[in-house]
Amino acid sequence: MKFTLSWLKDHLETDASLDEIVERLTLIGLEVEEITNPADRLGTFKIARVLEAEQHPNADRLRVLKVDTGEGEPLQVVCGAPNARKGLIGVFAKPGDYIPGLDVTLSVGKIRDVESHGMMASERELELSDEHDGVIDLPEDAPVGTPFVAYAGLDDPVIEIGLTPNRSDCASVFGIARDLAASGLGTLKTPQKTQINAHSNANDLKILLDLGDSPEHCPAFGYRVVRGIKNGPSPKWMQKRLVAIGLRPINALVDITNYMTFDQGRPLHVFDADKVSGDLTVRHGKAGEELVGLDGKTYAVDENVVVIADDNGLESLGGIMGGESTGCDENTTNVVIESALWDPLNIARTGRKLGVSTDARYRFERGVDPAYMVEGLEVATKLVMDLCGGGEASDAHVVGEVPQEERIIDFPLSEVKRLSGLEVSHGEIKAILSLLGFWVAGNGDVVKVSPPSWRPDVHGKADLVEEVMRIVGIDKVPTATLPRMEPISQKVLTVSQIRRSNARRALATRGMDEAVLWSFIPKAHAEHFGGGNPLLSLANPISADMSDMRPSLLPGLLSAAQRNADRGYADVALFEVGQVFENDSEKGQKMVIAGIRRGTAKPTGSGRHWSGNAENIDVFDAKADAGAVLQSIGAQVNNLMVFTDAPSYYHPGRSGALKMGPKNTLAYFGEIHPKTLEALDIEGPLVAFEVFIDAVPQPKKKATKSKGALNAADLMPVKRDFAFLVDSSIPVEKLLKAAKGADKALITNVNLFDIYEGQGVPEGHRSLAIDVTLQPTKKTLTDEDIEAVSNKIVASVQKATGGTLRG
């Protein structure tokens, strides 16, 4: 909402300075977003007189002027304007001046070999209007040599406030003045009731309301016919204000409706009565009907849109925009002025549906003062008659009924203290509400309050507290400290939150960088990773690349790795802790920790180094990352089983799943499948892991935090080496488990230290070498003891894997 300072002062009697007004506006909830003053950019332009105007020697359309700028010798100026003539008083821009409408800074130039020391400006060049048929032509008495802004009254700051949707009462200059006056910054100039000399017989046009079972879509329609007027440009003062707030003056009738919209917050429409055929009916649209609006665009309506129609069809989108065919132009002599009430919800719905934003829609969907409907019609009629050469007005007619809503709030005055903490006396509370136009009755601790017709936003006690508080000033609310709930801060994080935090830091200590990536990804990526559920496709994605909720964190991470590679950073290790989506329910959203490594981004470092070059990452790096995460979030990593059924986006032979039992998958890891690389249009080598933190069982509550006594044996541990020949299809894990299980009391560790295939080992077999740690607890082991355990190990391994001791 924009207005100028002088416009505000039409309605507000005040001595306050601009700064004071601006500060107060912000403090009462009308946040000032911008203040601009045309004088700031037009300050250099001066009024000047053309002393001579000769034909340019080398150009038919140019003239060479001698211009008296009020100081020094007259200047020579080349000018192309048709109205440039001897004696013209206009606006002069000298070399060095910035011309806003042209976006240039003037310099002394030569035009067709004649020097020009400045220019005479048009209104468009000063951004005052679109007028560019000639240069500005001022009256004879305009004082030559003085600043143009002062003469033209352009030194008038334009204030723009950001209006919150509840404050429809301030979508007008008058409303803003009313609020400022209530805050004590001045006195509201209350307008006189308007009197129109009407001729009851001048009306021969009927308005009919035909809204079936939803009459609330247009509860009341006020109108009047005015005949015999003359439409031309509106007066300068009105044009100047409209231009100042960014509106284009069109003609007096249109400008009056715009002016009323901004001055009084009362949107109106004016039909050219001669273009209306038959009566006007307010009704719902019909499928297939169309209207060409005043903006030249065609709108297709339906049964929910309220239209105004005549015998020729649609003539207006009620409360939003008039139609082109009954619009007013310079030939208009007879008009119908409309001042109606429209249903806010239906206006909002219609505006959204048709994609049309107008100043009328803006106001009607927020709520227009119903009590001003008739008075608005009167004021508009007066303006039409005053500015369009008189005419003859019919009586004002109202079809339907202006709703008389009675909102009475029982208001305990103690509410102000209870909700705001502010101490305000009962008298002061009542005075503030009264100043704001509220009706207040009663003398006790609980009073009856009724909001004024222009405040549709006020419904309850808290609304009244806000009114009092914003006028008293929120800065007057004393600051208080929340009392502590517990003497010492408590644990406030859930298991999942703690796990995410731990995992994050565990991965970062492994050299990985945490990324935060979009929750939505391209549909093709989602589908490749098992997603593509239509429930998870956005109806209105911001772009095709952000269309589907991600089923996995990997597409985002893999694409990010490629982006980095494309920038010259090929060896990256990234992870993300975030949500993935299986369906649109709360349970369908899962927390996942996933990471990728690319190129040589090993946990120990990447790239070449004198101590040894890093090799390409492999599946075991991903397995280690997954293990580190699981460890950090409290999973018993050593007890997990390794399966080889990772999803299809992993390399089938170089990937795995870590599970607790066959059904509970805690993690996947592996090399990325070449087809996945192709589908995402990226290059490897890339390995990845995903950990499903919610799948890890919740930690058990323990009775005590004690770690128990350390049970360290005094006896030396003994190590023995074994090498087994095993079929290559047997997973190593099986052998290690068998060895470890051979004697649970003695064997504390089994370590695989070599895997060998090749000469000396039969085809299809591997040699697996392990060392086994035996930890005696009671007595030193004898050779016989060791022999016995060794035999048990060999037997156990043989039984489990078919492997034999290598000779």
């Binding site: 949707p165 609310v477 929340l482 945490e514 209105n540 990010a560 980095n564």
Partner: protein
């Protein structure tokens, strides 16, 4: 010079000339071995007269001892020299650079770090952390929060919708974390002190708006909390977060459907340079929205607004990160450019805590 003196001089020369332990052993054997020159002399003692022996005995023994000591001394020296030579040969160039340790390489994303900072602050004030799903119902994102059907305030949210289901329900991506407030008020008994960090979504994109961003909302519900407490809480929070001694706040009346009274809060700052400085200067910058929880919202959650009251606020986590740590483009937060992550990210072991200062 006597014979013995000559012999001793010869042996000493030989000792000094021995440049290895082996050569020295040869000298020892030649002097003190069974047939060594000194040993041979010792053997002559037996044939001497007692007078001669009395004179020559001590002389020979003295010689034997001196030679023995000289050899031992020489041996020590040679050993020392050999060790020195070995050590010299083992010298490496310790200026050779190491690989960076992984814990120095990895980085925590600023959003995570700032969230941890916020949690540290609010945990101290007794707030717990609550979370909820990103995909929400219209009911929880709007209706329960007192956004009337068709109200223009809904439009201000630029909501992402999913396709309408058969039964007519249309899910959406939450436009704020406020649905978590509803979930909390419906499931927990007051008093409540909660912060709700999380991802939020709006159909909007430019330098300071991204279609996904992070919000932290706060909620206090009890029987006594009023706007004075709201002011105090936000003031203390901003002071702690920006790690400054003082902040000046300006509360402006504003509008949110779910609070009444509603306010926007500006913080005094210095915007003259390329970065915003909080806690100094003469500019105002809008930083958050807040208010007293609307009576309709309380009622929607089964709480009597004449008994229970409290405040709520919402602030952008990404924006807080930008203000504190000087990033200027929000879009870069979600691009995973490692140059950006290394520059703006945080070391894994720098866990924010009030006791050690939130940030280094």
């Amino acid at each position: 010079m006597s014979d013995l003196e000559t012999l001793e001089a010869e042996i000493n020369t030989a000792i000094a000339g021995a440049d290895s332990e082996a050569a020295l052993e040869d000298v020892r054997v030649a002097a003190l071995g069974k047939k060594g020159s000194v040993s041979e002399k010792m053997k002559t003692l037996g044939k001497m007269s007692p007078e001669e022996r009395k004179e020559m005995g001590p002389a020979l023994n003295g010689l034997k001892n001196r030679v023995g000591e000289a050899i031992t001394a020489r041996k020590e020296l040679l050993k020392e020299e050999a060790l020195n030579a070995r050590l010299a040969s083992e010298t490496v160039d310790v200026s050779q650079p190491l690989r960076t340790t992984p814990a120095e390489e990895g980085r925590i994303h600023p959003i995570s770090q700032v969230t941890d900072e916020l949690i540290a602050i609010f945990a101290d004030m007794g707030f717990s952390v609550a979370e909820g799903p990103d995909i929400e119902t219209d009911e929880l994102n709007f209706t329960a929060l007192n956004f009337p059907e068709g109200h223009p305030a809904r439009e201000m949210h630029d909501t992402f919708f999913f396709n309408e289901k058969e039964e007519g329900e249309r899910m959406l991506l939450r436009t704020h974390t406020s649905p978590v407030q509803i979930r909390a008020m419906k499931s927990q008994e007051p008093p409540l002190r909660l912060i709700m960090p999380g991802r939020t979504y709006r159909c909007d994109s430019d330098q300071t708006h991204t279609p996904m961003f992070h919000q932290l909302e706060g909620l206090v519900i009890d029987k006594t909390t009023h706007i004075g407490h709201l002011k105090g809480t936000l003031e203390e929070f901003l002071k702690a977060f920006f790690e400054v001694d003082d902040v000046e706040l300006r509360f402006r009346p504003s509008f949110f459907p779910f609070t009444e009274p509603s306010m926007e809060v500006d913080v005094k700052c210095d915007r003259s340079g390329s970065e915003v400085k909080i806690g100094t200067g003469n500019d105002w910058m809008e930083i958050l929205g807040c208010g007293m929880v609307h009576s309709n919202v309380l009622r929607n959650c089964g709480l009597d607004p004449d008994v229970y009251q409290g405040f709520a606020w919402g602030i952008g986590i990404d924006r807080l990160a930008m203000l504190k740590y000087g990033m200027n483009d929000l879009r870069a937060f979600f691009d995973a450019d490692v140059r950006w992550l290394k520059h703006y990210g945080f070391r894994p072991l720098d866990m924010p805590a009030l006791v050690s200062g939130l940030s280094k």
